[in-house]
Amino acid sequence: MTSPDPMAEIRASFFVECDELLEALQDGLTQIDSGDTDAETVNVCFRAVHSIKGGAGAFGLEDLVKFAHRYETVLDEVRGGRIAPEHDAILLFMRAADILQDIVRNSRDDVQSDPATVEPTLKELEALTGPLEEEEIDAADFQPMALAFDLDFDATSEGAVDGLPTFEIEFRPVRELFQSGNEPLHLIRALTALGTATIDCDVSAVPPLEDLDPEDACLGWTVRLETDRPENDIEETFDFVEGLCALTISNISDADVLLPTLPMLPPLPDPEDAIDETTNPEFPLPDLMPSRLTLVASETAEPTTASNSDSASDIPVSTAEAPLPPAAIRPTPPATPAAKPVAANATVRVDLERVERLVNLVGELVINQAMLSQSVTESGIPTNSPVAQGLEDFMQLTRDIQDSVMMIRAQPVKSLFQRMARIVRESSASLDKSVRLVTVGETTEVDKTVIERLADPLTHMIRNAVDHGLENADDRIAAGKPKDGCITLLAAHRSGRVIIEVSDDGPGIDRARVREIAETKELISPNQTLSDAEIDALLFLPGFSTAKQVSNLSGRGVGMDVVRNAIQDLGGRVAISSTPGTGTTFTISLPLTLAVLDGMVVGAADETLVVPLGAIVETLMLRKEDMRTLGPETQVLRIRDDFVPLLDLGAELGYREPLSDYNGSVVLLITTDDGVRAAMIVDTIHEQRQVVIKGLQDSYGHVPGIAAATILGDGRIALILDPVDLMTTAKGRTRIPHTCLDLAG
């Protein structure tokens, strides 16, 4: 867990940050594409790329810096209004974002990015801005290169030589700046790269050696910078230390004459705002020496700011600064709120392993609580006693804790959907189809493990939808549909499960063809009568593929059966529904979490089993007159006006032979998501409660009809049924044929 190399840790967290930034970038691009050309949205994209570049520079990731730099330049042009964010440009930006993501991944894994994939997009980006000079790329903000610069204490070059604007930058780090791993040297070096700089170090706050706290920030710098760059370029240099320093940037081109006199001035007559800013109790400006207080009259400062930075108003930091009162000193934090597009909730990054451990512990707690309840009940303590009541509260608390822990693992499906957006772009490009992806319910939260394990099957389904689901543009127009195909990706919570739908507006499943293929592949016999739903379900048979040509996208011999298996491993199910002419919908239904389940604890043939509550429609008492004989060994149950196959759980699992008389037995009416129902006979219903899921896959493997196991209150293991699997594999024996006794399980 603990890495011996602190750099590796910082590096790892940089890549985690990159993922978040890339997500923000994708978001922003999608927003712009949907017509939101708000300057702030463009800014978000720009900042995301810029931050990646900055970090990449610090770690010497050249590929990444190079690409991010070009990308950033183009986005800067968009920000400056010189490039219109048209649809084509946005598509290019999205492709660029994909590639940026690839380079980030490659950099993380120390893999060289393939220039063949990067170069074309790089060229396209370049085409938008015109070629960049190499020298500019080298000016990337933070390259950790030792650089000696002269501390020119003479500071003679005051004033605007050659008519270049001169900025005076007062920079005084606070303690936290060093704690967060920033280095003033790099910042100052970055400043010197912007123009001709004169640097003055203020050592007046350095205490005597015996009082020196080595971790404290005692130094301040004043940099006089002559540059033709706009003021926001200077501000950007300090992007990463916002809130970690006291920073003043003032244009002194015209005001420098005033400087020598100003520091001597007493506080301004109307000091209200100035005092608010300078004495902000939350951000005390440490060691701010009066002699260093640069006061610039607002009359002088504002016009020059406006005239020297043409795009200044695009940057919220600048707009926040513009109405600042005479004192241009500003601790950066008060100026930042505008820069944060959405007030992000405070979050903590936690290692997934720790969360897993917590989840496991809570699982044990639930089991333990069940054991405790059981022993309290067994000891015959009356239910109105304090012990029993305390136990009830304890149960409530356990449940709450469990819910909360599960919520820690829950994540919005957004990241998954964004990956799918990329799959749609790539697959539609390679098939030369024009496809639009509509996502609904991105904020739906799903267990992180589920999200991770859903990526592969969903990728496959999306590719399938683009490749097989949608028709060609010509066919679409012939069918009277819009030229662009549309794929909808929906996530929602429905009755305690998570539903993810992939639908296309293609021609629907060609059932005749599916049948034909199934017959030629001998998956079904020629005269078998099949309902539409049954034909659709053939798609899930191993090795089934309807595409006439095997395209390089889908149909690599990995069929929908793999998708179904992957989803079943998650305790989920896939269903298809298709309407000829209007499209096909695949519905994935998943349990909310992989760790707990609401279940009904039942007994069958001396064994205790758990039936997922979601599958149970109703419970009823079996009456002999409702049972009808179907075959020699099977019966059906009449429930109102339906006949439902009757299953004996004990017999299905091979625990016992079918009973001779079921009259009076308890029956659970179970159903699947597709509406298939069955009546399942159990011996007793014990209770209804939450159980902790313990996988069987790792220790044993798949057991037909069984989803997982759990540990009951008495410490024994009970198996959790998989009703769908049970129903499909069920033999349905509820009668013993008269002639012989079949002893096989």
Binding site: E652, G695, G701, G705, I717
Partner: protein
């Protein structure tokens, strides 16, 4: 999980845990043994091989139990409270081996081991890795890899 291999190559002696199944003496490499515990009634798994007795709760994890007597086709009395479960680690999996009783811990020089003769009738059933003689009687050293059912991944 090449515990067995390393022990064999690096040490002159092989440490074995010997146990009784029916009237026969068997042993396994002690390095693969995690713990020994008493009998708990397992929860039977439906549709499993007859030698898989089911699963038990081993401090919160699900532990499959293999009945060695049934696996090795040794006639024994039905499992009762006197039976012992040897928890062993095989191929990244932890399994419980149901035996009649644990007898001893032995250190056998490598040179004393001899490969079992090939017997055509037992083909595909070779559960014994090697043989040795301890105090005048034959001790069989089990090949745990062969004893264990492979997880049925194809069915998953």
């Amino acid at each position: 999980m090449n515990d067995q291999a390393t022990v064999r190559s690096d040490a002159k002696e092989l440490e074995l845990l010997s146990f009784r199944v029916g009237e026969q003496e068997y042993s396994v490499d002690i390095m693969s043994v995690r713990e020994i515990r008493g009998w708990t009634r397992p929860t039977p798994l439906p549709h499993s091989a007859d030698y898989v007795r089911g699963v038990i709760n081993l401090r919160g994890t699900v532990l499959p139990i293999v009945d060695l007597a049934r696996r090795l086709a040794i006639p024994v009395n039905e499992a009762c409270e006197r039976n012992v479960i040897i928890v062993a680690r095989v191929r990244h999996q932890t399994v419980g081996l149901l035996v009649d009783a644990v007898s001893d811990i032995l250190a056998i020089p490598e040179s004393d081991l001899q490969p079992p003769p090939e017997m055509a009738a037992d083909e595909g059933q070779g559960f014994v890795r090697s043989l040795t003689i301890v105090e005048g009687s034959m001790l069989r050293i089990l090949d745990l890899d062969a004893v264990l059912p492979y997880p049925s991944q194809d069915a998953a």
